[in-house]
Symmetry: C2
Subunit: 453 residues, 2 copies
């Protein structure tokens, strides 16, 4: 095992970073469960046929095959996409498959959250990984799905983000648009293939208004219509006043009316329940063609250049067995992506271990007594560890200090009348304490978070 | 997405089963962290070269390769085991690699726990999966590792198992042996290749004493020596009296003495700190050849036929960069394996959702008020959900009942003077309550567990 080097795009966190990640995942889980989302996990693999249904992401999929099958030349159904296996690249496609496979056993509307790793064979770069964790919430119903879930989803995520601020994550702004609004607007302008326009407008951020204007005219739009598409994409609003701004562009279409009503409902609910955390942003397009209603993206204050941290939308035909369809709406938070950016900027934990107290060891004979002290502390929920060896106390204190363990416990001995003492390594103060009563300050029980500089 | 069928060996739990799994993982994490183990996760993939170092498990490894690489014929380093990737088949080999890769940043002795999925392309059968979760604890040190960790590891696991009884898991007996003891005994009998004898004795359970006796003689042992090997393997003990039983066989060797001392120390500590949960079992061999000291296996009461639920041991040379070695000791608990057996026997949760309270909906206009009630309950840590639609109350109650949600909340309206009422669906009783004070009984806040019949 001489040569061991990292594999590009497959990040591994340090123990201190992992503590932050666990606290982030705990907070997401807490909020999701308070809102009645049930956890599921799906297998890491799907059939290649499932994953390539949408056709546009095949370059990123990792196939999975027994090495023995290669060696034997038996090939384990190589070439049969209905049987060949591959790692999932998101949690939405596996969830849709899970719903179809278990439809007879699930209660609809079905609310689930799912926090798992996914894999994509993309070129790694800052904030882009080949293996990364996502945290998704979705609601699916049978046949039809009430609109009010499109209002609810971003509010749940906004509540989770609010809790994550305490863990050093940046402020998040959820940006919302509606497919019906944009498509109705384009149709109202006489466009027959609104998806083509959507694709061009989606480049606005990167390519700029001039290029988009030119390409829209290339699609057959009049310069005036192209200009209106650009004006639409510039509209923003944290309350329902954006509706009038759209109306002022003078375009009329029934889908546009539906989309405006829906987007206004989302923005109004957010203005009441999560003020300042959600805006209507009519430039949001979302590349994936399965969205049919509200769509969501999220920008991180100070990290806008890294794109959306949390995205999703309403989909009507992702899960369908040909007879019954299961429309849904969901949002996916890119946990690894966001944490990777923040770890690179200094986010970490106050210690690299869960341990709150190191119990010092006078000599090897004292180990059972030290173990009993540690056990007493653990029974009160305090993570405690006996020093590895009866080294000089200075060395034992350094052992604790290097890990960020805040307290060292000196068990009572015959010489000092069995008086226990605790040293706080931050202040250097040492006091006699009662083994059966002492508890650390609440903030020291678990590791805290050190925010990025 | 018409044809969706399960993939053999890749289990997916129902939402209720997943709730049990989460509670099991929470309990493992709680105990591991109380004992100062830091969490790490390693990437799902290692290089093929890493995974095949031990050579004996190559048939079970799943290779991972970008589909695009296959299609392009570029082959992504196909055939170069130092670059080709594969899914890890346990958490010990990746941990050893992690230690070597990060040795400069870790504090030794390094205690970590790791709970992740692993993959093996074995033939699936009851209690054997191709994708399954393991929960491992290990301690590694640089250059040398104190023996006392071999005593500590099974005590931590025994404490975790004790907590898991409450979640419907069976009683677990940790069975301990020591490689030095067995090897010393065989060498004391004049055997020069003790590993060969170990491999034969390991078959005792399946093949029986007669076959083992014959095969040992086939290895060159005298019938008398072979009989002593069998007698050794029959020795059991939950206190140090087993030492005399070994001594009585009349074999002498320095390694045997070391092994007896170590095994006696483990058993004695367990008799004091975890009485009844650990026994010396001199038949335990553990197939993996990297163990060098104490070895552990675990039987589940009532499920003995399914083999060890939790295994491990001391290893001295798994992690070594040629100059420095990192000896360690660890135990791995087969979470999916154990839960799969118990789910098949009826273990489940009292409800299929985290939701404790369904807030009933009189009409669609009442949704904001119902949402405010749910929000008030959530602020007190009570999982609450607004009914999906203003159906007849009977239908809303059935919605809750089918999911096992214990309480339905009827928000106050103008007609009843804004008096809130809560109905307990188990008793059918309904009472007026104060929105700002009501809390559910502690046992109802989270889903409970229904033990196997």
């Amino acid at each position: 095992m001489a040569r061991v080097t990292p594999i590009s795009g497959f990040p591994e966190w340090s123990p201190a970073q992992r503590i932050v990640e666990q606290q982030v995942l705990d907070e997401l889980r807490r909020v999701f469960e308070l809102h009645g989302f049930a956890s599921i996990e799906t297998r890491a693999v799907e059939t290649v046929a499932q994953l390539l249904r949408k056709g546009d992401i095949d370059k990123e999929v990792y196939g999975v095959r027994r090495l023995a099958a290669d060696a034997e030349g038996s090939g384990d159904q190589v070439g049969d996409p209905a049987k060949e296996l591959a790692l999932h690249f998101d949690l939405t496609v596996p969830f849709a498959r899970y719903v179809l496979e278990n439809a007879g056993h699930l209660q609809f509307p079905f609310r689930r959250y799912q926090i798992q790793k996914v894999w994509r064979g993309e070129r790694p770069q800052e904030g882009r990984y080949r293996e990364f964790a996502q945290a998704d919430i979705d609601v699916v119903d049978r046949d039809s799905l009430s609109f009010h879930y499109e209002v609810e989803m971003p509010l749940v995520m906004a509540e989770a983000f609010h809790g994550l601020r305490r863990l050093g994550l940046p402020e998040m702004t959820i940006r919302v648009n509606n497919r019906k609004l944009a498509e109705g607007f384009y149709r109202g302008l006489g466009v027959e293939q609104p998806a083509d326009v959507l694709r061009v407008v989606d480049k606005l951020d990167k390519a700029g208004a001039e290029v988009v204007q030119r390409e829209l005219v290339g699609l057959g739009l009049t310069p005036e219509s192209a200009r209106k598409c650009l004006q639409l994409a510039e509209i923003r609003g944290s309350d329902a006043t954006f509706v009038q701004a759209v109306r002022d562009l003078g375009v009329r279409h029934p889908s546009l009316d539906d989309g405006l009503d829906e987007l206004a409902a989302v923005v109004q609910a957010a203005a009441e329940q999560a003020p300042g955390r959600l805006v209507a942003d009519l430039s949001i397009a979302r590349g994936l063609d399965y969205y049919t209603g509200t769509v969501y993206e999220t920008t991180m204050t100070g990290l806008e250049a890294f794109g959306s941290a949390c995205s999703g939308g309403r989909y009507d035909s992702l899960a369908s067995d040909g007879k019954v369809s299961y429309p849904g709406v969901g949002i996916s938070f890119g946990v690894t992506r966001v944490l990777g950016l923040l770890f690179a900027r200094g986010l970490t934990a106050t210690r690299s271990v869960p341990t709150c107290v190191l119990v010092a060891l006078l000599d090897e004979q004292a180990r059972p007594h030290a173990a009993a002290v540690a056990s007493t502390l653990r029974a009160r929920g305090v993570s405690a560890l006996v020093a590895p060896a009866p080294d000089k106390f200075g060395k034992q204190i350094r052992f604790a200090d290097r890990r960020g363990i805040p307290f060292v416990w000196f068990p009572g001995t015959e010489q000092n009348g069995y008086s226990h003492e605790v040293k706080d390594l931050r202040t250097g103060e040492q006091h006699p304490v009662d083994l059966h009563e002492w508890v650390p300050p609440a903030d020291d029980v678990n590791p805290g978070v050190v925010a990025p500089a």
